[in-house]
Chain length 295, copies 2
């Protein structure tokens, strides 16, 4: 038996089938357009594999309703993405495919996969941070993906913002200069007038390192992760990860007495890149389906 997984991102969806290990038997990627069209393409993909599927997992952009007892479980809720507010993702898939569906955030799914097969292996409390178009964080806390009122929405934390150095108001439609509003790929593009991958301005990346480090420091103070895995397109800028590590140590100021955050060697093993690359999200979605079946 196999499981299906969807990394339902705001830019693209990745659909895949697997027997539950970290190799994919079939993969398809397509752009996120309207809910009807995007869900339709996912249904078409899984219909071909339907007979061998035991269940489906979805790691979705959000915010989403993750509480199975809620009448709106399985929906995307207040997203700023046009047309996607209150989309019943799980309902549409269940109706069309007649399969049990597990549902969590895209970043919680990626954290789950990195914990099972990647950079979070053997850990019980860690974070998976993605810095791409937006900023998202998945959280494994004491061995379980973190849910509460809803789920972590760490891209929307408030951080120090020195308007003398950076008068930019931020791009978050809800909060302006929250973490995502100041430091996402979209924020970089708006502030500097070009995509992040074309930006070579020294000040742009000094500022980016500052904001990413501030955000990670708050993660460290709040969740006390055993490791932080940082992926997404923006963090791949040459030298950025190294600058963030240096600045995190400086900002912590020796207060947290652990070699992971007080030594050069330690922090290289503490703030790390993902090991599953682009497939962490969809692998995690498959793992969500598998865990649900094993319950």
């Amino acid at each position: 038996m196999s499981y299906g997984g969807i990394e339902a991102g705001g830019t693209k969806w990745v659909c895949a089938v697997s027997d539950g290990a970290d190799e994919l038997a079939a993969v398809q990627t397509f752009a996120t357009t309207t809910p009807a069209q995007t869900l339709g393409r996912a249904v078409d993909f899984f219909a071909v594999h339907r007979q061998r599927l035991e269940g489906l997992g979805v790691g979705s952009f959000g915010p989403i309703d993750v509480h199975e007892s809620s009448p709106t479980w399985g929906q995307i809720t207040t997203t700023p993405k046009p047309g996607w507010e209150h989309t019943d993702v799980v309902g549409a898939l269940q109706d069309a495919l007649k399969l049990p569906v597990a549902f969590d955030t895209d970043v919680n799914a990626a954290a789950l996969a990195e914990g099972q097969w990647g950079a979070g292996s053997g850990l019980t409390t860690f974070c998976y941070v993605t810095v791409g178009t937006g900023i998202g964080v998945g959280v494994m806390a004491n061995g379980t993906l973190l849910h509460g009122l809803i789920h972590p929405e760490i891209g929307h934390m408030r951080l120090p913002h020195d308007r003398v150095r950076d008068p930019f108001d931020g791009v978050c439609p809800f909060h302006g200069d929250c973490w995502e509003g100041l430091a996402s790929g979209e924020a970089l593009r708006e502030r500097w007038g070009c995509p992040a991958y074309e930006n070579s301005a020294t000040e742009a990346w000094a500022l980016e390192a500052e904001y990413l480090a501030s955000g990670l420091v708050n993660l460290i103070c709040t969740l006390s992760p055993e490791r932080i895995i940082v992926g997404g397109g923006v963090i791949n800028h040459p030298g950025l990860l190294e600058r963030v590590r240096v600045r995190v140590r400086e900002l912590l100021g020796g207060y947290i007495s652990a070699p992971e955050v007080t030594t050069t060697d330690g922090i290289e093993r503490y703030i790390v890149s993902p090991t599953l690359g682009d497939h962490a999200g969809v692998l995690g979605a498959i793992r969500l389906a598998q865990l649900r079946a094993l319950q």
Copy 2:
């Protein structure tokens, strides 16, 4: 059989004995002086009750080492409190009393007690925040007190700090203007030149509401607690809790789609006062001992 508990605070220690319910059979409170003297007074207190004690729990100011496999487990580590760095609290108590000792932060202990008998009853993910001399937060995540690299040190988060409105540099010896550096009772005393309870300046409390709300917004984005319990002397200032609730809703801006943080009624039940009062810490310490014995 009974259990002993110590709320080992930076200002005072509370020692108590209980059969494991939320009533205390004996209590003694004394000022935190030197490690030797303070630990000695605790040992003297429990020695009287030694025969009926099955174990001892300690909820301590920190940072502390909470990992039982660590060679420095049971110690206070990098505290700014003079004389208390690297104090082996658990070792001293075990040696003198020959009892098993459970050890966590003072605020994690208080969260445990509020979850068992108080405002966190029935919840699996919630926070206990204390705003007193310092700011501390205990975190229950998915039903377990949160530990990772160390434990939450949420008072040391970085927050927006508008130096035009508030040029004060903050009082944290490690970070200056972290949350505790800006909004603790000590910060209020330093900034305004009088103890918080004597301060009636409008701007003082408007600023305090702003900082407390910013910090709680970050807690909500990061941990997604089902409820936030806020205690400590500072929050008792008339009207402050109400202002914080209003400002939290404003800062969230409707992004998190849950009535708990979008409605007036909801937020009154979401950001609440503790129900165990001054004894939450020591009751939680006793519960730590009981849980350890039941393992």
